[in-house]
C-alpha cells in the first residue's frame, strides 16, 4: 500500500439552505479544497461523493458546475458513515496505486425532523426512531455502569462550547447543563439538546499520493489508517458486546494496527455524537477509556478543549449539525486543520495524531450498518504550514 496525503480541505458553514440546491453549496466546498491544495490546472483522477439524499448522480451535478468532468465519479451511500466511507474509497484508489489525485466530498441537504425509516427496518415500524435507538443504548449503559443523565448532558455542554468557537458550526452558542436537561424530551433520557439538529452542509478533501503531494509541496498530513467495517449479529443477552459497540471496537482496533499507534497516541478526535450517548460509547469503543468509564471522562474534562484528549473540537454533530454524508468528511477537515495548526480558537496545541470515527445506518439484528475510522498523522519533513 502507498502512503496517501490530505493536501486540501474545504467546508461551507453548516446550517439551513432552503433556497439553495445541493449543487450550489457543495461546489463551494470543492472550490475551497481545490484552492487550498493549489492544484492549478491539474485534473483529478477520480471523485467520490458521500450522500444519502442527493438523488441520482449528484456528484456529477456538482462537478459539472465547476467544469470538472470526464473522470470516474462515484456516488456513495452509507447513511451517517457515507462521508467516512467516501474517504475510505478514495484512500483505496490511491493507496492501491490506481490513482494519484482524488477528490472526496461529503454533502447533504436534509429533510426536517426525524429521518424517515426504511420499510424493511421492522423495529422502526414498532416505534424505534433513531433517537430511540440511542436512548435504548443509553438506558442500558445507565443500568449496567451507572452513567448519569448529568454526564450525558455534559457532552452537549462540552460540544456546544467548542462549537461556539467554530464559524462553520450550525449552532454557535454555549448551553448550560440546566438548559440541556430542561429541553424537551425526545426519547428519554435524551432531550432535544442531546440530539443533533437537521442541518445542510458540505465538506471536501483533496487527497494525493506522495509523489503528487511532493510536487505541490503539500506533504503535511498523512492518512495513517483508513478502515471501514459493517455490523455483525450479536445476541444482546449472551454476547459481551452489543453489535453497535462491537462494530466501532473492531474498526478502531484495525485502524490502530494499521497506523502502528494506540489510543494513548491520539491527540485530538472527532467521534460520532449524533446523540450524546454516542460520544460516551465512542470513548469506550475507541479505547480512550475502559468500558463503563465514558461518563467519568466527561466529568473530568479529559475530552474538553484544554483537556488531555479533546474530542469533537468542531462542536461535533450536536453543534455543527449532522448532514449525513457530509459529516465524515467534515470531521477530517477539522482534524486536518488541527494537525496543520489552522484550527483558530479551537486549536489543540502540538496535535500530531488525530482520529475520526463515524457510524450509522440501522440494520435490524446486526446493529449499525457501517463504521469508518481514520487516523491522521503529521509528516514534519516537508510540511508547508
Amino acid at each position: 500500500m502507498r502512503d496517501v496525503f490530505i493536501i486540501g480541505t474545504g467546508i461551507v458553514p453548516f446550517g439551513r439552505y432552503p433556497d439553495l440546491l445541493l449543487e450550489d453549496f457543495a461546489k463551494e466546498a470543492v472550490t475551497e479544497a481545490v484552492g487550498d491544495a493549489g492544484l492549478g490546472a491539474r485534473r483529478f483522477d477520480m471523485a467520490i461523493f458521500g450522500h444519502s439524499n442527493g438523488g441520482r448522480v449528484a456528484g456529477q451535478r456538482v462537478l459539472r458546475e465547476l467544469s470538472l468532468t470526464g473522470m470516474p465519479i462515484l456516488n456513495v451511500e452509507n447513511a451517517c458513515a457515507g462521508g467516512g466511507t467516501s474517504l475510505h474509497v478514495g484512500w483505496m484508489a490511491i493507496a492501491s496505486g490506481l490513482h494519484d489525485l482524488a477528490l472526496v466530498v461529503g454533502m447533504e441537504k436534509m429533510e426536517r425532523g426525524l429521518i424517515p425509516p426504511n420499510p424493511g427496518e421492522y423495529e422502526s415500524f414498532l416505534g424505534k426512531t433513531l433517537p430511540a435507538k440511542y436512548a435504548l443504548r443509553a438506558r442500558k449503559h445507565m443500568q449496567r455502569y451507572g452513567l448519569t443523565i448529568e454526564q450525558l448532558a455534559q457532552v452537549s455542554v462540552k460540544n456546544h462550547s467548542a462549537g461556539a468557537l467554530n464559524p462553520n458550526a450550525h449552532y454557535q452558542q454555549e448551553v448550560t447543563l440546566e438548559e440541556v436537561l430542561a429541553s424537551r424530551p425526545i426519547a428519554e433520557p435524551l432531550t432535544l439538546l442531546q440530539c443533533c439538529p437537521t442541518t445542510d452542509g458540505a465538506a471536501a478533501l483533496v487527497i494525493a499520493s506522495a509523489e503528487v503531494a511532493d510536487q505541490l509541496g503539500r506533504r503535511g498530513v498523512r492518512i495513517a489508517a483508513s478502515v471501514l467495517k459493517s455490523g455483525i449479529y450479536r445476541n444482546s443477552s449472551t454476547d459481551a458486546t452489543a453489535s453497535d459497540d462491537d462494530l466501532a471496537e473492531r474498526a478502531a482496533a484495525a485502524a490502530y494496527e494499521m497506523a502502528g499507534l494506540g489510543p494513548s497516541d491520539i491527540d485530538v478526535a472527532e467521534v460520532h455524537d449524533a446523540f450524546t450517548i454516542g460520544e460516551i460509547l465512542a470513548y469506550e469503543n475507541l479505547g480512550f477509556c475502559e468500558r463503563g468509564e465514558g461518563g467519568r471522562l466527561v466529568d473530568e474534562g479529559v475530552t474538553a478543549l484544554g483537556g488531555r484528549l479533546p474530542v469533537n473540537t468542531s462542536g461535533g454533530r450536536l453543534s455543527m449539525g449532522h448532514p449525513l454524508g457530509a459529516t465524515g468528511v467534515a470531521q477530517v477537515v477539522e482534524l486536518t486543520r488541527q494537525l496543520e495548526g489552522r484550527a483558530g480558537a479551537r486549536q489543540v496545541p502540538r496535535a500530531r495524531a488525530a482520529l475520526a470515527h463515524v457510524q450509522g445506518g440501522s440494520t435490524p439484528g446486526i446493529g449499525t450498518g457501517a463504521a469508518a475510522v481514520h487516523i491522521l498523522t503529521t509528516e514534519e519533513t516537508t510540511s508547508v504550514h
Binding site: 414498532l126 416505534g127 424505534k128 424530551p185 449479529y233 444482546s236
Partner: protein, 152 residues
Amino acid sequence: MTEVAPRIGKWTVTTDGDVILSGTNCPQCGETVFPAHTICVRCGSPDTHEALLRGPAKLRSFTIVHQLPSGFPSPLVIGYGEFEGRTQVLAPIVDVTRNQLIEGRPLALTVGVTRTGENGEEFVTYQFTPIEPWESDDSLSARASSQETGHA
C-alpha cells in the same frame, strides 16, 4: 379496518389468548432469532428450524419516546424483552406506569393496535404488557385505539 403490520415477524394467538412469536433456531450454532431467518444470521447455516417464543419476557432496555412519526400514540414506551436468555425482541410496552419500568420486570406478550396508517387503518402488532397491574395515576401510554392518550 384492522390489518397485520408487514415484516415485523409472525405471531399466533392461542385459544387461551396466549401470544406466541414464531422465530427460528439454528441447530448448528444454537442461536434463536426473531423475526425468523431462513439463513442463520449468526453463522450462515441454511438449516434453521421454527422456534416459538412465549412470555413472560424480562424487560431489558427501554425508552419513552416523545417525538414520533404520525400515527403513534405519544408518548410511546418501547423496550426489549428477553426470552429465557435466548433472544431479545423490541416491542411497544402498553398499559405501563413509569415505576414499572425496571430492568428484569416480567412482561406478558399481548397483541394490540400499535399505530394507525395515513387512511386511519389500524396496525395490530405484538406488544408487551407488565404482568403486575398498572397504577392509573402514573399512566405513560395507552393503546392507540383507546381514547386515553396517556400523560407522562
